[in-house]
């Protein structure tokens, strides 16, 4: 489903964010990218979304070589990838339902189909009664649920999450992880960058550890074991 082959990313100014990374992620897998800040986790997510060009190597996402994909086809790549971020990235002037519907509207889906899909996905994330609220009227955990609903409403085969629990308290994080786990059980491949020990240790899924852009380990059922402890 996702394949990175000898991928190196050097930012302008010479910072090497990812170095010779090769990785195969199968359909339906749940993979944690772990490592301290600056280890290259977020860069991998950005490279998978083609928000950044690779410096060397190749990346395949959902069967497409993103490194040779022409610019005008990038939107199609992103439609097959749902994304969840630490800061939720919700539109403050749209309601919960509108925020979720937005992801379908940009794809040109008919209005009738949108309403039904939005209701379904809001039920999935447990916000069926809060569709007409605005993001500012919701708690952090609820906002993250909206962002997950938006990422999943289009039923993409892949979901990328960059520190989705970074702004949430441990209790709320557990709820978010349960939700992601449920989505993963529907067959959606999930790649999640995090430095949350508790979550990684509790979930017991595949763990890929990065440090200064290098892959230190790749375990099918791993724990967050690292010498450096992040706050």
């Amino acid at each position: 489903m996702i394949r990175l082959q000898d991928v190196t990313k050097v930012y302008d100014g010479g910072t090497v964010a990812v170095r010779d990374l090769s990785l195969d992620i199968q359909k339906g897998e749940f993979v944690f990218l772990v490592g301290p800040s600056g280890s290259g986790k977020s860069t991998v997510i950005r490279l998978l979304l083609r928000e950044e060009p690779v410096t060397r190597g190749h990346i395949w996402v959902a069967g497409k070589d993103t490194t040779t994909l022409p610019s005008h086809k990038v939107p199609f790549l992103r439609r097959s990838v749902g994304t969840v971020f630490q800061d939720f990235k919700l539109l403050p002037n749209k309601t919960v339902a509108e925020n979720v519907a937005f992801a379908l509207e940009v794809l040109g889906r008919p209005k009738s189909a949108i309403g039904q899909q939005v209701t379904q996905v809001l039920q999935l994330v447990g916000l069926e009664n809060k569709g007409d609220r605005y993001p500012r009227q919701l708690s952090g955990g609820e906002q993250q649920r909206v962002s997950i609903a938006r990422a999943f409403v289009n039923r993409p085969p892949i979901m990328l999450a960059d520190e989705p629990s970074g702004n949430l308290d441990p209790g709320t994080s557990v709820g978010i992880m349960r939700l992601l786990d449920r989505i993963n059980r529907t067959g959606t491949t999930i790649v999640m960058a995090t430095h949350d020990h508790a979550i990684v240790n509790a979930m017991r899924r595949r763990v890929v550890q990065l440090d200064e852009g290098l892959m230190l380990r790749d375990e099918p059922v791993g724990r967050y074991e690292t010498a450096e402890v992040e706050a």
Binding site: V10, V16, R50, P53, T55, D65, L69, F76, L77, L107
Partner: protein, 311 residues
Amino acid sequence: MSRFAYLLGETLQGMRRNVLVVVGAVLAVFVSLSLAFGALAFNQVVRVNTLAWQDGVHIIAFLNDPGASGVAPDAHERLTNDVQGWGEVERVRYVDKAGAWAEFQELFQDRPDILELGNQAQLPASLRIELTDIDLHDSVELRLAQEQQTVSRVSVASNAIQQISQITRVLNVVGIGLSLILGIAAVVLIANTIRLAIYARRDEISIMKLVGASNWFIRVPFILEGMIEGLFGAALAVFAVWVAARPLMGSVSQVEWFRITLSSGFFLRWGVLFVLFGAVAGILGSFLGLSRYLKETEGTTTGRETVPELV
């Protein structure tokens, strides 16, 4: 169609949210295009007024019709040849009755009431005389006065008309140049405004890109916005110049050498063109404003950067 309605809705919503930016854009287009349109209107006034005085004509001698009392059938031809021989005269051009009628029709093309009153028979033939030196007009006038059987009336361009005639050519060039510069200014101002509007909505755009919106989907609302702003600004500009020129339009002043006539035909023709230009400027400005924001990165930068070795 519903997709277009959705995009139009997004456009109007975006404009509502950034009213001040929108007003700024409309005013920018309004100001630059009213100046351009004003320059054009002024040019038109000058052009109409100096129509008869183009090519440096200094004196017009209106002639009695051949066959009238004491006017020989070949009197016009003879006089033309005589005048051409005078030392003060640089050039002389004979305008027959048909030529005078054509000129009259052009001058009053938008005044059917005046056109109705005239006909070719009423208009006299004339000699358009260009002098080697404008200061010599006294002596030429005197000589023409001696031809009183053939010459009915002599008109001399006043200094003011002389000056206007001279600056017409300059004004035409300046007017075209000014309109061009102001037109470009309108495009740049709209581009800037659209860029502001994009800046105000950059989060929304980044989210749109994130969920896979195509560039056209993101672009259309901004292009519509630019077009609407351009249309409004240009329409306001045309309206403002029309209002300003309204007291002058159609009035034929009693001053022999100066007629201020701006026809409704002129306003219609150029007004529509200006409004269209406003819309095009808006679209162009939007494209310029958007280009940088919607650029996708290429997939690879291979060959452009070297990877430092690990120590």
